[in-house]
């Protein structure tokens, strides 16, 4: 890497055919302090989401103290190692307006789209990760990466529209192969020989695009939109091929390691889910370190979580409804057990970013993660008093270590804040009562 300098690298890239590739995070691109690119531009900031199911029990989840140095009540003690890397938001509301409260659906949909769904068939607009990916992640190998710890390919919170979910990676082995299998452009490989098949493959792809254009002339507006989306996918394939013609620049932190030995067993037992979550997290973090994408989604649980506790007959969701509130404790102990396990995985997730070195800091310095759930108090399906988190400093644009009492404000304000931080130039986000043009200023630097 030391034999390279900025002029040589940039010159090489501009003389090649791939001027559109994302700039990898090569240290020779960084300024002397390792805190910014040599051009003076800040390090690229990545955006991600994380999701857990069934909210929390306010009595043991909501910190008493707001602002910095907030306390960690018993349901979130697992967050101790990451407290100063995150912000916790409580008393957030998902306004359903005049639509029905669709259990385990309305809440998360508002948090991800800014709008209440009119029925359980609707995702009212692309989800926030799609919007941000269109802004910041068009040029990386993957526009976004989505994974779930549940092992169920149906569990996603990322939608292009109602009929087009971004299906998640559910098998760590398959995820590894997709990321670091034979097509992985290893930035630290000693030799680089462009595959001559790539150029001809690109030429064939242009023929496929011509066919698509021809077909688009023959179909109605709705189908045309679907074909247009497919065409966007072809463009992305084309871009991936372009990238394979250019030697990727070394990235010190990019060390994928060996594939996982085996997938964890199927099922939603908490230990299995946590194990799957850990492996998926490692892969996701390495994908970001290798600059394979700049937008990612991780689901710890599906909405209305079906996680199970070995030996306990009911899954998390049913537990929230059927377990009595313990008269002494004042909460549902097993339901809380599930929430505590979810918070442990959230802590694992953020820690993995904090432990990955990047420049003079860590990956977490250059990331904003937006974590959401489906309800406030799941037992009664509340859409007020909802919790949410952010993690990471987004390249220095966001403060961390704060507890914000959102005062009943719309969940969309948090989403809007995240979008603005990620550079999405939109004057407002959300519809009806969730519409907002005001960020949550307390967390902005």
């Amino acid at each position: 890497m030391n034999t390279l300098n900025r002029r040589r690298v940039l010159g090489g890239m501009l003389n090649g055919s791939a001027v559109t590739v994302a700039l990898p995070l090569l240290n020779c691109f960084l300024n002397g302090n390792g805190t910014a690119l040599a051009s003076g531009d800040p390090m690229p900031v990545r955006f991600g989401t994380w999701a857990w199911g069934l909210g929390m029990a306010a009595k043991i989840f909501v910190p008493k103290k707001t602002g910095p140095n907030f306390d960690l009540p018993e349901e979130i003690t697992a967050l101790k190692p990451i407290r100063d890397h995150i912000n916790i938001f409580t008393n957030v509301t998902a306004f359903r307006d005049n639509y029905e409260n669709l259990c385990h659906y309305t809440g998360w949909v508002i948090s991800r789209t800014g709008s209440a769904p009119k029925d359980s068939t609707e995702i009212p607009g692309e989800t926030i990760d799609v919007t941000v990916a269109n802004q910041i992640s068009r040029t990386t190998r993957f526009k976004s990466l989505t994974a779930t710890s549940t092992g169920d390919v149906r569990h996603t919170y990322s939608y292009e529209n109602s009929n087009t979910p971004n299906p998640p990676e559910w098998s760590p082995l398959k995820f590894y192969t997709r990321l670091f299998g034979p097509e992985f452009p290893d930035p630290n490989a000693e030799n680089f020989t462009p595959d001559p098949k790539v150029m001809v493959r690109r030429s064939v792809l242009s023929g496929v695009m011509d066919d698509t254009h021809r077909l688009m002339q023959k179909v109605g507006a709705e189908d045309k939109a679907r074909l247009d989306q497919y065409f966007t996918g072809l463009r992305h394939l084309e871009q991936q091929l372009d990238q394979r013609l250019t030697k990727p620049e070394p990235i010190e932190a990019c060390r994928p390691g060996a594939a996982p030995e085996a997938d964890p067993g199927m099922g939603k037992a908490q230990e299995v889910v946590a194990a799957r979550h850990r492996i998926m997290t490692e892969l996701m973090v390495m994908a970001l370190a290798c600059d394979q994408t700049r937008v990612f989604n991780m689901a710890y649980a599906n909405a209305g979580a079906s996680t199970t506790k070995p030996g306990y007959e009911k899954p998390h969701h049913t537990t929230t409804h059927e377990e009595p509130v313990d008269e002494v404790l004042g909460y549902q102990p097993t339901a809380s057990w599930f929430t505590r396990r979810a918070m442990e995985s959230w802590s694992d997730f953020v820690s993995a970013f904090a432990n990955m070195r990047e420049g003079d800091g860590t990956l977490l310095d250059n990331v904003l993660i937006y974590a959401t759930t489906d309800h406030g108090y799941a037992r009664t399906h509340t859409l007020d008093g909802m919790p949410a988190f952010t993690a990471g400093r987004a390249g220095g644009r966001v403060k961390t270590g704060l507890h914000i009492d959102a005062g009943g404000t719309s969940h969309a304000r948090l989403g809007y804040t995240a979008m603005r931080v990620m550079g999405v130039d939109t004057p407002s986000w959300g519809t009806k009562s969730n519409n907002t043009s005001k960020e949550i200023g307390e967390i902005l630097v």
Partner: protein, 607 residues
């Protein structure tokens, strides 16, 4: 068989030259089947013995059956028809199609995410689903893998019908012969000259640049396999000459609709030939084609796909039980439980050609060692047929592990989930969502005062807010309580004898056998199948205007003894099957999108 097909290759159509590969599954193996398949077709020119049997008793039977079916179709109520759809090919259809084009030994090595369940079927989601960049990337990887296998040393000499002049350069003539042939099979219609020329040019360019004829073929093939006409099933319409002012599917669209419906794969050469000649648009021609398809062994794959969809067996993909509670229920059990039901369905409906309703009372099934552990029976290695004796509590699909275990919690049974599945999957009766503001204190934790599920869920029925929905699901779900969450029989729960009495829409019964009989006799059981089959076959949910049509089909399904092949024949030969209606204004939500279940909700647990 091969000899007959090779004789066929001397016919006019170029596509018959390699029928040993492309049509090998098409014509069934028996002499009678061969004769029926050849009668009336262009291919019939070649086999004298087959021609002789065209005028025999089988032919007379066919004529009578044809006339009877035409009489039914003549009385068919006017339907709205369905739109000419642009359907995303399902992963299984993609894989089946490539498997049939290039042979089963080509490893596809991929698993794609499912479509979204819409109006009870995943297949209905195909007409509205989009493709994301990530999914396309997956298709591309599969396509590249298949293309490289097609041209590898092991396959190239029998999959590619000609040898190039040089292995190291383009050969446009040979390339055109190959791509024209496989392109027709993959795109389900002949490639236009412009399209074929462009593909040949790309392959030739690649071959010259890579100095490898076969590499050029592979790359062009890869492009075709991710092309829009491969990934989307494009239906097109034309004016219906028999019904002025109306539109119908064109011949190739009919061939595709039939083939994806009955075989869950793209049409083969014989079907495309029937489209090319226009035969498939005539009453007799369509009847011949449908009979040939129904007689084909490929019908089994098609109907397995249909019932797997109708029974929501995609739930099996993520099914697991708590090993502490159900140690006998393993990953092998999961796979075998699904297979058991599909084997039972195929055996009952296709092999034995029996009454659909009896599927819910039959004592005939198949067992594997993994299942035998839960059925508490001895079983030899592999699969074997099994007859549950009279007096056994096992009768019909409701008592199979597939139904009992999927519609339970990981650690306990669920009368509500089972009742809900019975209503929604088998009777096409949607159960309302639970309201958000339910007071759950009445049904909280099992305690000594709730020894059985019946005691526990009875609280639902006493609470007026809960009772509204739970009365729809619980009274029949409770009759399955003799089976735990893994499907194993139990006489008691926590030491208390289980009361398995119940009701289904006014019919009372004392145990699960009574429930099975009540379901078997429920009028919604066959009509639900009719609705699902029609939706599945025509590629989208039936519209409200099709109520009379579906009623008519249901009536004739009954008069024909509730036999599945007859239902398939009636629907595929009906006018409604190929009638095309203009697509609805997008501002008014079309019927088929009305109950799309986004993935999250579809998988959401119910209490």
């Amino acid at each position: 068989m091969v000899a007959i097909m090779k004789s066929g290759s001397s016919g006019k159509k170029e596509g018959k030259g390699r029928v040993h590969m492309f049509i090998k599954e098409l014509v069934p193996l028996s002499r009678g089947h061969v004769a029926r398949a050849l009668c009336g077709s262009a291919m019939g020119l070649v086999a004298a013995f087959a021609l002789a049997s065209c005028s025999g008793p089988a032919s007379q039977d066919q004529d009578a059956a044809f006339d009877a079916m035409q009489a039914i179709i003549a009385g068919e109520p006017e339907s709205e028809g369905s739109p000419a759809r642009l359907r995303l090919i399902s992963a299984e259809q993609y894989i089946n199609t490539l498997g049939h084009v290039f042979g089963p030994d080509i490893d596809l090595g991929s698993k794609f995410p499912p479509l979204q369940r819409t109006n009870g079927l995943l297949a209905n989601g195909a007409a509205i689903a989009g493709v994301t960049a990530g999914q396309l990337e997956q298709y591309q990887r599969t396509a590249a893998g298949v293309a490289s296998q097609v041209v590898d040393a092991e396959h190239r000499y029998f999959l590619i019908p000609c040898k190039p002049a040089s292995d190291e350069a383009a050969d446009n003539e040979c390339t055109a012969k190959f791509l024209g042939r496989v392109g027709r099979l993959m795109y389900r219609r002949p490639l236009g000259d412009v399209q074929l020329d462009a593909a040949v040019e790309k392959a030739g360019d690649a071959a010259d640049r890579l100095e490898d004829f076969y590499a050029g073929i592979a790359i062009a093939l890869e492009g075709m396999m991710i092309g829009p006409e491969m990934l989307f099933i494009v239906e097109t319409s034309e004016p219906d000459p028999d019904r002025p002012g109306q539109q119908r599917l064109d011949a190739y669209s009919v061939a595709s609709r039939l083939s994806f419906f009955l075989w869950n794969a793209a049409p083969d050469n014989a079907l495309l030939d029937a489209a090319e000649s226009g035969e498939i648009l005539t009453a007799k021609g369509r009847a011949r084609v449908v009979d040939m398809m129904l007689a084909s062994p490929r019908l089994e794959a098609g109907m397995r796909a249909f019932f797997d969809d109708m029974y929501a067996f995609d739930d099996f993909d993520s099914l697991a039980k708590d090993p502490l509670v159900y140690p006998s229920f393993t990953g092998v059990t999961v796979a075998d439980a699904r297979e058991q039901t599909l084997r039972t369905v195929v055996d009952h409906l296709i092999t034995k050609h029996q009454d659909y309703r009896d599927l819910y009372t039959t004592r005939s099934t198949f067992l594997s060692p993994a299942l035998a552990a839960i059925y508490q029976l001895p079983a030899p290695p592999g699969w074997s047929g099994h007859e549950f004796p009279e007096g056994s509590p096992r009768a019909g699909l409701l008592t199979q592990i597939s139904f009992l275990a999927v519609h339970s919690h990981p650690g306990r049974s669920s009368p509500t989930l089972r009742g809900k599945a019975l209503r929604e999957l088998l009777l096409c009766q949607p159960v309302p969502r639970p309201p958000p503001d339910v007071d759950f204190t009445l049904v909280q934790n099992p305690s000594s005062s709730y020894p059985t599920q019946r005691d526990r869920v009875s609280a639902h029925l006493e609470n007026p807010v809960c009772a509204g929905c739970h009365k729809i699901t619980d009274p029949m779900g409770l009759s399955l309580e003799n089976f735990d969450g893994s499907g194993r029989y139990r006489a008691s729960e926590t030491g208390t004898l289980i009361d398995a009495s119940g009701t289904l829409d006014g019919k009372e019964f004392g145990d699960v056998i009574g429930l099975a009989q009540a379901l078997r006799d429920h009028p919604a059981l066959p009509s639900c199948l009719v609705e699902r089959v029609f939706s599945y076959g025509s590629g989208g949910a039936a519209s409200p205007g099709d109520r009379a049509l579906l009623g008519y089909f249901a009536t004739h399904f009954a008069t024909q003894g509730y036999k599945l092949p007859e239902l398939l024949r009636m629907i595929t030969l009906s006018k409604a099957f190929s009638k095309v209606v203009e697509k609805q204004d997008p501002s008014a939500p079309p019927a088929e999108t009305a109950s799309v279940l986004p993935l999250q909700y579809a998988a959401e647990p119910l209490n």
